[in-house]
Each structure stands twice: as structure tokens, then as C-alpha cells.
């Protein structure tokens, strides 16, 4: 029976469009490799106060790399609070932090769902750990603060992520961006923090070639390299020289024992560089 209550589409079936692969595919697969020095991070754009209705907000964008089809990470963060906890929650003498990270459905090559999946919850937990070390929690009893980050564009090279499944390394870059932008938004919201915390990623990569040795680079783009052996994401407080969160993933060669600490050191250096941008952005926001 025909459905007369609704406005219906065409009665027959439709064929979904199938898009041709990019013509420049061989070029991307060969890749030019990394065009920055091993200790240089990508340029960032950071601005606070972009969402007037929230207590604090910030927007972060990484620069595009030169290749077609690869554009930088774009994050938007809003902070709501300090606000009263719901009646049912128990008394808390310090502030209750909740961090939510969500990829927009259009953010990555593989379309994401509308509900948070376990990887996004994992990012949220890491972010909460990173920020908990920076917030002075007992100045705000019985309150809660909500940090909501929306990843508008993920950090992925379209072709590579489909073929190599390198999503984890992109998540590390996303986490370090989330830490930096959340720190800016918290300062914008007027929540007492011990220091500005910034995130940095360092990775042990192996480039194509017979005798290339693994080297350590910061702020890696996974498609630049043949293989990423291991990476770590650090949340670092520069004034206090403290690490609030360390996320390490990968398979390091067992021969070199100092490689782990070397990676962490480089990650801290990347954090310091990101913190410089953060400090400058907050300085502009204050004046």
C-alpha cells in the first residue's frame, strides 16, 4: 500500500554514486617524505574565545602539509563550568573534571558514527589525566567542569589510512592537539591552573630504503614515512618540568635501552614548542 502520509522519494531503487580513485594516487604512495627538520613541529593556529556562549573556548588548526589530500588537524574545544554538580552526585571537595572528545562524522576518510566509540572514550580518558595534573582542583568544591572537544578534521592522509590502517598514530597527534586546545580553553574559562599544559608527539620512524636506520622525529605525519615503529604522546608542564600524561605505543627494537627515554625527551621538546604557541596565544587574548 502506498504511504500517503509522508513525502516519499522516487518509487524505484537508486544506484549510489561510486567515486573514482584520485588520479594522483601513485604520487602520494611514493611520497616526498618529511620536509621538516626532525625536531620541528608543524605550525599551529590557536585562538581562544571563539564560542561566546561557553565559559571558555578555543580553536586549533595545524598547517596543511604540501601534499594534496592531506590537510591538518582542526579542533574546537568548549569548556563549561565551573558549574554545580547534579543533585545525585556525592559531595566532592574538589572540582569534578569530565572530558569528552568526539570526531565529527565527516572528519575522517572512514565516516564515523554519531555516538562515541571506544577509541574516542580512550582519548577522553587520556585528556582527563593530562589536565588533572594541571588544574588546582580544591579551589572549586562541589563543582564540575565539562570539556568538550570536537575534532572537525582528523589528521589523516586519505589514501594511506585506507591502505595501512595507521589510525593509532593519527590519534596520538589528535590527542596532543586536544591537550593544547583544552589548556587554552581552560585558561579562557578562568579555571585555576598550575601551568599551561601542552601536548607533543615523538615517534621512531623508519623511512623507505635498504639501509635507513630508524630515527626519532617529532609531530609525525604517518604517511611521510615507510613505517612507524613506536610513538609517544606527552603532556608536559614547562614551568614545573612535570609530565602529566604519557601514552606510549609501539614496538621498539630491544637493542637500544635508552631509546625509550630519548623518545620521551623529544616528546617533551615538542611539548615545549607547542607551549610557546600557547603562551603567545594567551598573551594576545589577555591584552
Amino acid at each position: 500500500m502506498a504511504d500517503r502520509r509522508r513525502i516519499n522519494g522516487p518509487p524505484g531503487s537508486t544506484i549510489p554514486p561510486v567515486f573514482e580513485d584520485d588520479a594522483g594516487q601513485p604520487e602520494i604512495m611514493n611520497g616526498k617524505g618529511r620536509d621538516r627538520a626532525p625536531n620541528t613541529i608543524r605550525k599551529m593556529f590557536l585562538k581562544t574565545g571563539v564560542t561566546p556562549s561557553a565559559s571558555g573556548s578555543a580553536y586549533l588548526e595545524f598547517e596543511d602539509s604540501g601534499k594534496s589530500g592531506v590537510s591538518g588537524l582542526k579542533l574546537s574545544c568548549t569548556v563549561h563550568g565551573p558549574r554545580s554538580l547534579p543533585r545525585s552526585s556525592p559531595f566532592s571537595p574538589h572540582i569534578v573534571l569530565s572530558a569528552h572528545i568526539k570526531y565529527a562524522p565527516f572528519a575522517t576518510k572512514q565516516r564515523r558514527g554519531y555516538l562515541r566509540d571506544p577509541s574516542e572514550r580512550d582519548l577522553g580518558t587520556h585528556l582527563e589525566t593530562a589536565l588533572r595534573g594541571a588544574i588546582i582542583a580544591d579551589r572549586w568544591p562541589k563543582s564540575g567542569v565539562d570539556i568538550i572537544i570536537s575534532i572537525i578534521e582528523g589528521d589523516q592522509d586519505r589514501e594511506t589510512s585506507k591502505s595501512q590502517g595507521d589510525e593509532t598514530w593519527d590519534m596520538m597527534n589528535a590527542l596532543s592537539g586536544c591537550i593544547t586546545v583544552a589548556s587554552a580553553a581552560l585558561a579562557d574559562a578562568g579555571i585555576d591552573c598550575v601551568d599551561t599544559v601542552a601536548g607533543g608527539v615523538a615517534a621512531l620512524v623508519q623511512d623507505a630504503g635498504e639501509d635507513s636506520t630508524p630515527r626519532i622525529v617529532v609531530d609525525p605525519i604517518p604517511s611521510d614515512h615507510e613505517k612507524v615503529l613506536g610513538a609517544c604522546c606527552i603532556a608536559y608542564l614547562p614551568t614545573r618540568d612535570e609530565v602529566t600524561n604519557l601514552w606510549f605505543k609501539g614496538d621498539l627494537p630491544a637493542s637500544d635501552a635508552g631509546l625509550y627515554t630519548q623518545l620521551v625527551e623529544n616528546g617533551m621538546q615538542a611539548s615545549r614548542n607547542a607551549n610557546r604557541v600557547l603562551v603567545e596565544c594567551l598573551g594576545e587574548a589577555t591584552s
Binding site: S55, G81, P82, R83, S84, L85, R87, S89, P90, F91, S92, A134, I136, R139, W140, P141, K142, S143, A187, D188, G190, D192, C193, V194, D195, T196, L237, P238, T239, R240, V279, L282, G283, A285, T286, S287
Partner: protein, 218 residues
């Protein structure tokens, strides 16, 4: 050590040493140094003048208080009433013990009055904090003979003082001073009322009086 005082601060910025400054709001201490906790402008408040030299040698005076150091603080501009302020940033304030707040009575029971805290100090609050005025905190005298129905009614605006952080849901408030109590009340007929004594409001139109715990207007 900074030789010149910075005027703008971001969290974590070094402001001075604890031997030179006392930490005020918006700062914290780390390793004998005062660091900023907020993003804002730095203010230095000079202390009150130290007392002069002791005249009597035999008089015992307390040791000089550490309040002789200037207080350094970081302030974020709060939401002000005037629309012509360039930076209309709102900053949330938490009711603290000792603050005088304005609240609206939501419901009354024979033992307490439940209120919603609206304004803390000078800042209109964004969050909804709930408060409780217990029957023993309504007045300073004759606490056992207080009747909540004769002190507050739902809908009244009350000026009260925070006496405790309370439990998970409520702050505890008190109106046990002359200048605390109901400042705005509506009569049962629906008209505005004006105060006539410490316990009565009179309806301006009908002339009937109703019992409230009235705040001293001046």
C-alpha cells in the same frame, strides 16, 4: 627573579617571591615563589600601614603579622552591569563561607527553607546552586520559637550569608543578622509589599500586613 612586575599573566607565570609578596586570589605558591593561576591582569595591593613604634617599653605586642607584605593577585574582569565594557567576560564565582548572597525562596518546610542562590557578592551566578536556611539560623534570638511560615514564603528574595559549604546538594545559609532577611516580598493578593518593622511587611494596596523576617533596609 623578575625585576619589573608583569602586568598580564597566564597560568604558571612567575610573579614574584614569597618574601616580597603575599599570594592573593588567582595565584598559587610553588617553591617559595608566587605563580599566577589565571589568565588576567596582575594587581598589587599595598598592605595597611604598619603600626607605629611602641611607646611603652613594657607593653607586650604580638610579632609583626606577615600581612605587611603587598598582596599580588590576578584578576579576570567579571561580568559587569554596564554594557559599554569592552571585555565582557563572565567568570564564575563560587559562594564561599562568609559571602553575602541574594536568593529566592523555593519551598518551605517547618524545619527549613530551601532557596536558590542567585547573586553572590556582585556577580550574578550562572550555575544553579541550592541553599538551605535552617530554622535555627533564621534569627539570632529566640531560635526555638521561630516559625518558618512567619519568616519566609516561597517567592521571596532573601539576603543571606553563607555559613557552610554544606552537603552535596545544598549550601547552608543564615539570616541571623539585622541586615539579613527578606528584602523583596509579594503579598498573597499578588501586590508588592513594603517593610514596616523587623517582622512585618505591609501590602501597599490592601494594607494588610504579613509576617516575614525583614532585612534592615539601610
Amino acid at each position: 627573579m623578575t625585576t619589573s612586575n608583569p602586568t598580564l599573566a597566564i597560568p604558571g607565570q612567575l610573579l614574584g617571591s614569597t618574601s616580597k609578596y603575599q599570594p592573593g586570589p588567582g595565584t598559587h605558591i610553588h617553591n617559595h615563589n608566587v605563580h599566577a593561576s589565571l589568565m588576567g591582569t596582575v594587581h598589587i595591593a599595598q598592605p595597611a600601614k604598619a603600626p607605629g613604634p611602641v611607646k611603652r617599653l613594657t607593653k607586650i605586642t604580638p610579632a609583626p603579622a606577615p600581612a605587611e607584605l603587598p598582596t599580588i593577585s590576578v584578576a579576570v574582569p567579571t561580568r559587569s552591569a554596564g554594557p559599554d565594557h569592552a571585555s565582557q567576560k563572565k567568570r564564575e564565582v563560587l559562594p564561599e563561607v562568609g559571602n553575602v548572597v541574594l536568593c529566592r525562596v523555593i519551598r518551605i518546610t517547618p524545619r527549613q527553607a530551601v532557596v536558590a542562590i542567585l547573586v553572590c557578592g556582585d556577580t550574578v551566578l550562572d550555575a544553579e546552586w541550592q541553599g538551605l536556611i535552617r530554622v535555627q539560623d533564621v534569627r539570632a534570638t529566640e531560635k526555638d520559637r521561630v516559625k518558618i511560615y512567619e519568616s519566609f514564603r516561597p517567592g521571596d528574595i532573601v539576603r543571606a550569608e553563607v555559613i557552610s559549604l554544606g552537603d552535596q546538594a545544598n549550601y547552608y545559609l543564615s539570616t541571623a543578622r539585622n541586615e539579613l532577611g527578606v528584602i523583596l516580598a509579594t503579598s498573597e493578593a499578588g501586590n508588592a509589599m513594603h517593610p514596616v518593622s523587623w517582622k512585618e511587611y505591609r501590602d501597599s494596596e490592601t494594607g494588610l500586613t504579613e509576617l516575614r523576617k525583614v532585612a534592615k533596609p539601610y
